[in-house]
Amino acid sequence: MVKYTPPSSPSPTASFYDVSDDEGDYNTIARAASGRGVKLLFSKSKVYVHPTASAKDNIPGFIALIQQKPPSNPSAPPGQSDTSSYLLAWVPESSLGDAYSTYVKVDLAEGSSPPRQKYLVPPLPTTTTHHDPIGLYAFAVPLSEIYSVLVRPPSIGWWFGSLVINTRVGDSFPALFFHDTECESTILQKKKRAKENFDPFDSDGSLFWGGDEVIRWLRRYVDVQRSTMDRKVYLINPSAEDQLSFGRPVSSGDGSLPDQAQPQAAAAGPSGQRDASMDPFMKTLKETRWKVLEQLSKITTFTRRTANEIADNPRIPPQVRRLMKNPEIQTLQDEFDSARLYLARWAMNIAEQSERERNQRIWTAQDVLEMEDSSVGEFEILELETGNLSLQERRRILTLEEWQGFFDPTSGRLHITVEEVKERIFHGGLDPNDGARKEAWLFLLGVYPWDSSHEERQAIMNSKRDEYIRLKAGWWERMVEGNSTTEEYDNWKEQRNRIEKDVHRTDRTIPLFAGEDIPHPDPDSPFADTGTNVHLEQMKDMLLTYNEYNPDLGYVQGMSDLLAPIYAVMQDDAVAFWGFVGFMDRMEQNFLRDQSGMRSQLLALDHLVQLMDPQLYLHLQSADSTNFFFFFRMLLVWYKREFDWPDVLRLWETLWTDYFSSSFHLFIALAILEKHRDVIMDHLKHFDEVLKYINELSNTMDLVPILTRAESLFHRFERAVQAIDKKDNFPAAPTAHQRKPVGNNDQGSASNPDKGKSPQRNAVGSSSGVNVGASGSSSLDNAIAADKPKVISPELRELLRKDIPWKRQQTS
């Protein structure tokens, strides 16, 4: 990979070119080796080649127009036709050495004509083809050899404007990207335009950018005609035939004529077609794909980080996805074994990112159909993000000020509905910095009733503080002061050791928990040597107090993960403790000895995937993965290990609202699964592969897109349930298939008892043309299932409820 090295500072020898004023001193390329230099007419800095998908590989350079001494052929006609003595070149900054300062000077030279003073630079080897994609990408091509220039101005979809030069022999050079915000001359020119004309736009109404300058300069020396067939194509010295192929030229001048020409459906010649349909990005990819893959082959342990770095580059279009499906490349990928997987994910991330950037594109019916076919709700998600103008408003962060405005200033009672508050929190999240969470979380966690007054809340908090102190004193007196039986004490000590071990390895990267600044109170503790901090000690006390408060459950691994964010927000042990108790009320089932809570959640997820994405479900089934065990960690500690700290806080408050469903966390799981469904279906064939892949998503995901996707999936689920219910309300036609009553779910698995299937799978079946996985019996079973009416299982119906099942049972 070409690493960019900053050009050396101008040395005295650079001035050699500056002062030279001797016409005869510059050379033709042919005699370049020993010569003194060629004339630099125009240059523009910060024009990049993007050799790979990764921004760090971008190579900055100059685009330049160079005049070499005309060939010693006196009969050659002067002026424009003598285009072979003018070269259009791109040179990387790193290769310029002393000449760098000359390039900068010419770039910054004002005026639209060549500088009066002659700037000479070392000649560049002339090139007419581009055969070496691994090289430095530098080129210098005679204008006479240029057939066309593909121009893509900067747009919303693509950050940087670009040029691709196509030669008469049918070759293309790498796309040149104009990083206008880094290019001083472009910035100055923009400013100047704004000053002079109060109009930063070009004559044809588009924003001025670096590529305009190149076209303008080319027009000084050659005939540049913009094609009407494809407005991106600028023909250089076109023949009459070419002009026909590309439609009547709009203008041979400035491109200032009104844009009246309709693209003509004239039969384009082969060469014309080639150019007109040339996608410069595809071209770039063509040139760089092997390079990318070659890089990969060198990395034996292709880490997630590497994959992410590549994925960081937002400028690679969805074509990459197609590229990855190229059989040639797939074969190569197979050599990389697991790297193949990361490649797939990399491609997915990039495609997604560019999709986001290009979300203004017009969707074709084909696109929609493909979406509908392949995955759940992609189109809907986009609709949600782009079509709904108020979404931006809904995603606005809820500040403490706005929060306080929800309450009546005198009584301190909420004066808007609870649903309204929850909606704001669900979509906007609470301000992480202004203390809004400290207040709002106590409502979300059930410490304060939503309808309480200010005074009532004060009373609640006072009694809660007292109770915390009482609970804490309870174990303290018995255990530390020795008023307990040996067995009690031993059990307590066991739990204390467990808590101690876990607290010392919970969120220690968070500054609050990082310190080891106070000596450990217990010299026998394994952590006596390393020390502790006051927050860790508070954490231990709170967990021991919870152990006292809920002795049946006790402390279980994972609880420290649930407490840490609450404590970090509250930074008050009594308040945090009761917040944690509120959280545990809903999470308790996950920690039961019989694991019934986890089991029922994984089962609900199983049903959900069956209903929402039967194709994916079948694939997971063929990979023995329908236990959904790879979601165990996510469901137990609510994605604490999957997202980074600020996102976890944001996610939890969203989930605590129960705004759509008290099981919204399962839609988060579905959203994650759906996002990766293509990779899973294409590449993961066994449980261990699925598990590893899902485990390694940890800390690679952005929360907000997942939230959006989950919301969309929820709505889709809701509609699916409604549709099925509606259908069930119609009386059965005489010839209709026998309808299975809700709850009679055993038939499917009874008919096929050998395979690990949920009993529900017959109930929801599939309406799409599923390609059935492994066994024949499964395929038969599926055919039967598809024929059966869809039934919404009780597990699925639960997902529509906003209250928490076991809490409901308690109150009723």
Binding site: H504, R508, Q557, G558, S560, S596, D624, N627, F629, K692
Partner: protein, 241 residues
């Protein structure tokens, strides 16, 4: 992953032992040669891969790491069956993790999950009701393994944190004695100092491979492989520091 060209043998190993004894640290040391003192607790399961060379053959080790707390044993039990080798890990500075003197309380498994390598079973319905002790000393772990792991699975007893002499609560002799009693090899290791970690994994893998070779030549199938412990039991007694 899917490719089979990269190795000649695939061996699945499992790390079990009480919470906090350093299972994940041992694995991290072996798979990535690194050590983090304030590690995170393991929730659920995960595995790491390292390919080693044994007798000129490339052996791909897939090493499963599990949560240690008894509450999650319902989960880890499902993985015993696919394992060909099990590392029983305790902490030499924590007597409880080695030998517990506290009485057992019964609890029930009702939740078994399948791994692709285990026999297919219906996880949503699989209800196993066996009483187990919630105490996780080595004997308990061992009997768990005996009950759930495949027959003839190879085991090794590992005493971790042997670098921490001043905190030592279980002597090397005690460790060796228990290993002898259970009839399995024994090593004291330190993930922190990288002592004996390689040896522990290599010797277990090598025993398994020998077993595979033997069973191949005798044409007797996977079961009934005699465990060759000589390579471990005979020598230094496993003391590490």
């Amino acid at each position: 992953m899917a490719g089979t060209r990269n190795y000649d043998f695939l061996i699945k190993l499992l790390l079990i032992g009480d919470s906090g004894v350093g299972k994940s640290c041992c694995l991290l040391r072996f798979s990535e040669d690194s050590f983090t003192p304030s590690f995170i607790t393991t929730i659920g399961i995960d595995f790491k891969i390292r390919t080693i060379e044994l007798d000129g053959k490339r052996v791909k080790l897939q090493i499963w790491d599990t949560a240690g707390q008894e509450r999650f044993r319902t989960i880890t039990t499902a993985y015993y069956r696919g394992a060909m080798g099990i590392l029983l890990v305790y902490d030499v500075t924590d007597e409880r993790s080695f030998h517990s003197k506290y009485p057992a309380l019964p609890f029930f498994f009702t939740f078994a999950l399948c791994l692709s390598m285990t026999l297919a079973c219906d996880c949503s319905k699989g209800v196993i009701t066996n009483p187990y002790s919630p105490l996780l000393d080595i004997r308990t772990w061992f009997s768990n393994v005996e009950q759930h792991a495949s027959e003839g699975v190879h085991k090794i007893l590992i005493g971790n944190k042997c670098d921490w002499e001043e905190k030592r609560a279980v002597s090397t002799e005690q460790g060796q004695q228990l290993a002898d009693e259970l009839g399995i090899p024994f090593l004291e290791v330190s993930a922190k100092n990288n002592t004996n970690i390689e040896k522990a994994f290599y010797s277990l893998a090598s025993d398994i491979k020998k077993g595979m070779d033997t069973s191949k030549t005798e044409q007797t199938g996977a079961q009934g492989v005699s465990i060759d412990q000589g390579s471990l039991n005979g020598n230094t007694g496993g003391k590490c520091c």
